[in-house]
């Protein structure tokens, strides 16, 4: 089996619906574990397990202040996933994007355009 290490962990973490829902909730801003757990129909222990998977993959970070554990998005994990996908975009996808850029660049250059057709005046 392929082993991409950190990238595997990120996709594994994100492949689970509850964990994606947690990430979605956190994208609004940092939240305490108990606030985070509120809308989910599962035990706090189950949520904490999901949080551990997310934290180990680098998708979120948690921090304990006094008795409250706060969770927040760690952009590192998501960026890793983003980069992995971007790098797997096919060579041709990238080439054809580049072709679009080249066509646009040439548009900006004063180029030897064919003599413009003169409108017939009626």
């Amino acid at each position: 089996m392929l082993n991409n290490g950190p990238v595997d962990r990120v996709f594994h973490a994100l492949a689970e619906p509850t964990r994606r829902a947690i990430v979605e909730r956190l994208s609004a801003g940092p939240m305490s574990v108990s606030d985070l757990a509120q809308p989910f129909d599962m035990t706090l222990a189950a949520i904490v397990q999901h949080l551990q998977v997310l934290e180990q993959s680098g998708v979120i970070r948690t921090e304990k202040l006094g008795r409250v554990r706060t969770c927040r998005i760690d952009s590192g994990g998501l960026r890793l996933a983003e980069r992995w996908i971007a790098e797997r975009r096919s060579r041709w996808e990238r080439r054809l994007d580049r072709l679009g850029e080249v066509l646009a660049e040439d548009d900006d250059q004063p180029q030897p355009t064919p003599p413009s057709k003169k409108r017939k005046r009626s």
Binding site: L14, R20, E87, R91, L96, V102, L103
Partner: protein, 162 residues
């Protein structure tokens, strides 16, 4: 001896350009322009690019990765593209057969078709590749496959949770 595998795959990529088909076609037919988008680009250095744009003509590209991607070929790896043009219809269609080699490993042999259609004041491009991908092609998974499978998987998961 490592196991040999062949994966056959067909994929299509479509793009819309604001330039008309004749200009897009020219970007394929003109050596200097083609080199700019085909061979050059972020993360690669062109070592050689020669092109003979006619049916039966060859094209040869040698480039090197200047950046390394996780799971991709290591930095400095040489990649070669060997193309033979099979069919050319000006402003409409280009068909070519090509092989790709990474280091000393041939990783694929494919038939690619580029179709150009008028779309408003621009062009609609359809790129279709029908390929045989050999063992080792899977590691870098540079092509459509990896990306598409992944999105499919994500989509399935999203449906399940919907």
């Amino acid at each position: 001896m490592t196991e040999t595998t062949v994966v056959h795959s067909t994929f299509t990529i479509e793009r819309d350009y604001s330039a008309p088909p004749a200009r897009v076609f020219a970007a394929f037919a003109n050596r200097a322009t083609k080199q700019r988008w085909f061979a050059e680009g972020k993360g690669s250095e062109v070592l050689e690019f020669m092109m003979e744009f006619r049916v039966g003509g060859r094209e040869f590209t040698r480039f090197r990765h200047t950046g390394s991607a996780e799971g991709g070929p290591p930095k400095g790896t040489e990649i070669r593209n060997d193309t033979t043009y099979q069919d050319i219809v000006p402003d409409r269609r280009i068909v070519f057969a090509y092989t790709m080699t990474i280091g000393d490993k041939r990783i694929s042999a494919s038939l690619a078709t580029v179709e150009l259609r008028v779309s408003g004041s621009g062009a609609h491009l359809i790129f279709t590749e029908q390929g045989a991908f050999f063992e080792g092609a899977d590691g870098p998974k540079m092509r459509e496959g990896g990306w598409r499978d992944l999105l499919l998987k994500l989509d399935e998961d999203l449906r399940k949770s919907a």
